[in-house]
Symmetry: D2
Subunit: 358 residues, 4 copies
């Protein structure tokens, strides 16, 4: 069976590199085009990721696959969709706003950028959580006259929260949610990202726009598909987002009101059983458990648990009753640059291919 | 004016060292006795804090004051209160349970240990917050037939929380409180404390017994003095405590329900005006501001703010409205081994001397 | 072909766990016995590595293989060699001095402990460097009347140094060597190992006995087999060993006098060609390159390079001429708990099996 | 006695801030002008150091002194020397090359930039080491027709090395020197400086141009004043410079050949007695000991020792004989942004005022 030809836009940045790392040898997708800024255009990819002093700026733990080294990087401003059926977009929001509609006229665009995340006819897929939002794709195509579509992923901090809330909402109903995040350095990118002097022996208690994103996206992702679009979930989320000196993986401390009283065991069952329909689809990047439960009182620990199932499973632990909100409290670890970015986007793409949207 | 002669018990440990660091040249107290375990007994203090390889195990940033170097360490099990009027106790809870009553028969015992913290006739002073609890000292003396008394300080994590809640409670009434802490390494002590391999590029999401302590102590500290003892405050606290790779200073993300609607400006005024009565007392260790407010959106940062006013001021920032609980959310930084331990205990001692309890 | 039955002694400690992690599914060895202290004896291994609070103390990045979970841990003091042909020993030096001779009476003992490292009839194998020292095994057996033998590995800090010096010595002759190490936390073990408060934002400039070990072992490992034993290499090594806040992997800054003038290209060729005879043996744990050369001016970086070839290859970079000693200077990274400990020991075992010593 | 009016150029950067921190309330100097880039020009200093999000970019541990807050920052390109007698320059090398000669036509320029460091008629003062190089100022003035002069300080990594070598050279003669540095983050500046993702759990083994600077400057600083200029010291220095995850303070591992055999006690005496002539001058910023010796086997540790004497003393420890070079080996810690930058420059200025050069 032949693989679907794809392009990666924003291929030299940290998020773009993660697409390459996850698409090497992928059974469903074949990378045909790599695009970046005008500065990289015309260079072989293996050369484009070196700095002026000859040092490699490849940041993934997996080595760069040889199949990509000699692809000549195109200027994303002039890249066409000839010969490809899908664009993975890893550019910044302002660039996305310009580029993505151009590509979406013809092909599917699966993006990690926030540019279109809050538009009414744009779905924000979280794997296994809201596949029914795919109905928005048809609305979007009709609205905009596109043959393709734009499908942005959630903010990385939303991912673990919405993933663990979903089974609770289905089983017991979720009301108030209060969350404090301790987020990894990689979420801030690489050039320059967080300065080492700002974070050593320190915590930075503010990440601009992050809290608003999480509070808004969670309601959209967990919302129901109505006739005219998504009806936001009937819950309220308040959060505080901080940056800590951790390389990869976000930790979140969550307090949840449950509308129906639930025992801790019932909560565990809800999480354990969540995602069985996803497993049934047999998608290459899907984890066995979307939510993995640890009973070790000292877990989840971000360095030890972020890579669970290749960074595709959210690990929860320290489940306790919460008498203040009337529900439960817990801690979760989710991998912000795997399920929370490129690899999550690829899983969405796998689903959309399976369902005939690509 | 002559200084009050005091002893430090548990003098060689991290908490004990902090007493020495803060009592060097103190205008009200003169250290006459140092006591430690049988292993240290008989050695000069300067020698007792060296390990078998000759390395200094003095951990404070201030150098060890020469006035203490040649004091011979006594065995705390056999130390008497002859010639002293006050004992600063920095031992572990189990040792405190045995030693402190023996000293309290004759003299005041101001302690950082939790042993007696939850007993009905024992006050847990937080400077500027609950001086009226001093009435418990009389009850305690009567109950136990002691000439002295035991006065333990709060858990270090409770300090910043209760300090910032107090002015809100007085002004607006506090209902539900949800808190997530990111605590410093020094809170876990030194021998061995947290292993570097456990915390590098990591967060440890559990500190045994910490959450229960904070939830319980906050209500006691913020409670009202009734005829038969303290009536716990009418609020509910739920928290999750984590350990991060920070040397000193606890960061706490707090969400508070306010019973009476308050603007952010009203909240700021409440914090700013808090503690004026403490200033009026002129105690040597008292900060100008018990609670310092920062308007910098990226503050408080623990490395930059923990030492505010010598580690005696709790720094709050990122004040925002919280629609979920109906109140406010904010972040605070407080110094766990200054106001949160020895220096806070010394400030309590200064107050009790001023008021004639010592 | 049937696998050789082996035991791991000191199986619950950090070094022992690394043996388990590397022996899961090993094609040549089958773990039949696990032994530990009296405290662990009688427990299933999966239980023995939990602490009293139920937290896992398994520290390897690989998960614990199911095949080991239910093996009952024996008391190493009473373990016999019945049914096994080889003991991997991961105990401390003082325990090794007692246990290892008892096992060596009957079977081969491959150890990471230093107890017997400096005895005249004991080889210290560094893979690919000094296989000819195997002749000492016969001498040892004869001297001591043992059917088995003891074969300790080098100190982890010696490994990268001796590995990179060997090809230079063969090709050009090595004279003076000056080395400064920046060593990882894992080299200090886990219980408690290095305290986080001692190493955050810090360097500890002293590791007891480390420098003497490196200076002595390097000469033995690079020495020639003479009729009566090893003739130490004719070079002189001086070093300073420090501890830095790095999880795994030692970095060493090396300055070498070369007896015969060599260009940088000649040095590179010597390193690149080194180890071809090892490759020819087809041992399962052998790397393709014992020494890997990087031309990136900012490499080797310990976090990025320690896992080269599964932690079995020493990565060298920053090769420059050194006019002061008359030779070259470079930086190396080697994995202290892979080639520098358990996995290196397993590679030695594979060789000795191949050559009929086990 | 009236204070000397001075300007700080490059005042908003990290190095410039350190000048301000050290000149607040200085008894000899009064800051009259602050200059920065065109972006800061026209703003009050307190405003110029805030970023667009309102966050303070003041990085020193001392708070910004109120006396500087309201000074209006000038554009350094158009700043004149009217009303001032001395310029402290904290700009980058390329900017320094343009600006500093313009100022030096009229007034003294004491700089932390490297621009003029290697010119024959320019002294590179290291306090207490080479005051006799002041004779170059007269040569420089004559050569260039300036009323003022340029006096750049050494690279921060050279400071501790040259400071500890000087007494050894005077007493015993220094031959070969081999040094490996482990340098702090602050040496790389702040915007952006080192990326946290590059250095967490890592070492960066290369700092461009650093090694060449140290090797060259050490010989110039330790050189003798000859009739036509400085005769470089007759020694040879080879070094490897690395970056580690430490906030402030450089650690250096040094191996030194001594031309005359010396006991360790003789070396200690040489270090202890060094700098007595500096003390006699009574300069405000001078430390009591230029070189402080620690006998603790685990010291110097950079976090604990960098602030010795306000960061103005180089702390040495782990002194051992070195048989390979024929001399000694040791470890030193020196504060790269105190004696190694602004505060060292201020001490030089104090000396030059005392001697009538300003």
């Amino acid at each position: 069976m032949s693989r679907i030809p794809v392009a990666i836009v924003g291929a030299t940045g940290l998020a773009g590199q993660q697409f390459l790392a996850s698409l090497a040898g992928h059974p469903m997708f074949e990378v045909r085009k790599l695009a970046g800024s005008i500065r990289s255009a015309g260079k072989k990819y293996g050369h484009a990721i070196r700095n002026e002093q000859g040092a490699s700026r490849w940041f993934c733990s997996e080595p760069l696959a040889p199949e990509f080294t000699d692809i000549t990087v195109e200027d994303s401003a002039s890249m066409t969709t000839d010969g490809i059926k899908l664009v993975f977009s890893a550019v910044e929001a302002d660039v996305a706003r310009e580029l993505e509609p151009r590509f979406a006229r013809d092909v599917a665009v699966i993006s990690t950028a926030s540019a279109f995340r809050y538009e009414n006819d744009v779905p924000v897929f979280l794997p296994g959580v809201n596949w029914d939002h795919a109905a928005l794709i048809d609305i979007q195509r009709k609205n905009r006259g596109w043959k393709g579509f734009v499908s942005p992923g959630p903010n990385c901090t939303t991912v673990g929260l919405a993933m663990t809330l979903r089974p609770l909402d289905v089983a017991f109903g979720v009301g108030k949610v209060i969350m404090t995040s301790m987020q990894a350095l990689s979420g801030a990118g690489r050039s320059p990202g967080v300065s080492a002097m700002d974070i050593l022996d320190n915590i930075v208690p503010y990440i601009p726009k992050e809290e608003e994103k999480v509070e808004k996206e969670t309601l959209k992702i967990l919302g129901k598909m109505g006739p005219g679009g998504i009806i936001p979930a009937d819950m309220r989320v308040s959060c505080t987002c901080t940056r800590v000196n951790v390389l990869e993986g976000h930790t979140e401390s969550v307090f949840v009101e449950l509308k129906r009283k639930a025992t801790l065991d019932e909560v565990k069952v809800a999480w354990r059983e969540f995602g069985s329909d996803l497993r049934a689809l047999g998608l290459p990047s899907a984890p066995r458990q979307l939510v993995s439960l640890t009973e070790d009182p000292f877990r989840p620990q971000v360095r030890l648990d972020r890579d669970a199932e290749g960074g595709m499973s959210t690990v929860v632990g320290r489940l306790r009753e919460d008498a203040v909100l009337g529900g439960v409290k817990y801690i979760l670890v989710s991998h912000n640059t795997r399920m929370g970015a490129a690899k999550g986007a690829i899983l969405v793409a796998e689903y959309l291919v399976k369902k005939g949207y690509v």
